[in-house]
């Protein structure tokens, strides 16, 4: 986890330094998309290669799905309330 933070800070520094030399951030964003695809493929491989997970996929998968749904729905609902009362107005002021 620490390595991830360090790399982010490092990338931030590099981006800050090359800012004046590059014309657009589009190529950087395309590379990021490619990296997302690689990461998702590897995640899929991790699930498919785990025999304990694959054998009980139906029952355990259903439980997992319901718990994930409840956790995500609750989080999004709470966040929508927080954004409505604490963040919306300021965003509009920044745009003006």
């Amino acid at each position: 986890m620490l390595a991830v933070i360090i790399l982010f800070v490092l990338g931030f520094g590099v981006g800050f330094l090359i800012k004046k030399r590059i014309k657009s951030v589009k190529p950087i964003e395309k590379l990021t998309t490619a990296a997302i695809w690689i990461l998702l493929f590897v995640l899929g491989v991790g699930v498919g290669a785990n025999s304990l997970v694959m054998e009980n996929l139906q029952k355990l998968g259903w439980w997992a799905f319901v718990v994930a749904f409840g956790a995500v729905a609750g989080s999004i609902a709470a966040m929508a309330i927080v954004q409505h009362f604490f963040f919306k107005k300021e965003d509009r002021q920044n745009e003006r």
């Binding site: 982010f8 695809w37 998702l40 995500v72 966040m79 927080v82």
Partner: protein, 200 residues
């Protein structure tokens, strides 16, 4: 939506190939996901560092940002509790503990597997994987209907790494700091909260 479908098919392809056994063992042996993750984090850093608009917003960070992870903790707790009330088969304590993984599946599944047995460990792994993967796929839909902070809420602990690129892409670079802050705070909280709930 097109992006989500591409991501989903790539994930399913990886899963299928690994299950059938076509994927070379080297791919599962080497920690390729960490390498891809490191590369991603570096690239996200570069794209934020090179963006003047994002930088000006980072400079105007304030204390309200603390509300972001607090909302995730409260929302997850209430949501998990409601699921435990309605679904028969798993006990409330385990459901709450699994929810408190906030998408950090490796750590939470180890803790829950140790306290509640292998089966619950697998459910923790899957539920938190689903939280991460569904956020990656549904982020544009969340942004459209529930606001720019909603993918940060859905991502939980993964808002700082795996889900950060997708949050930056659909919520905008100005949400990167809220995502990073919330993800880091929740990642630190996971082991404490999971162990605390299991010992209740």
């Amino acid at each position: 939506m097109k992006g989500s479908l591409i991501v989903l098919s790539i994930f399913l392809l990886g899963m299928l190939l690994a299950y059938v056994g076509v994927v070379p063992k080297a791919l599962t042996d080497y920690d390729l996901s960490s390498v891809a993750l490191y590369f991603l984090m570096f690239m996200v850093g570069v794209s934020i560092g090179a963006d003047d608009h994002a930088l000006s917003i980072i400079r105007s960070v304030n204390l309200k940002i603390v509300l972001v992870p607090i909302a995730v903790v409260l929302g997850t707790t209430v949501g998990s509790f409601l699921v435990a009330l309605t679904v028969k088969g798993i006990d409330t304590r385990n459901v709450m503990a699994i929810g408190s993984g906030f998408g950090y599946y490796s750590l939470s599944s180890i803790f829950i597997g140790k306290y509640s047995g292998n089966e619950m460990g697998v459910v923790a792994l899957l539920a938190n994987m689903i939280r991460e993967i569904s956020t990656l796929m549904l982020a544009p839909i969340y942004v459209r209907y529930f606001g720019t902070l909603s993918p940060v809420a859905a991502a939980g602990a993964t808002a700082m790494d795996t889900c950060l690129p997708i949050i930056v892409k659909y919520s905008g670079k100005e949400m990167a700091i809220a995502a990073l802050f919330s993800g880091i705070a929740l990642t630190i909280l996971v082991p404490f909260l999971v162990v605390f709930i299991l010992q209740l």
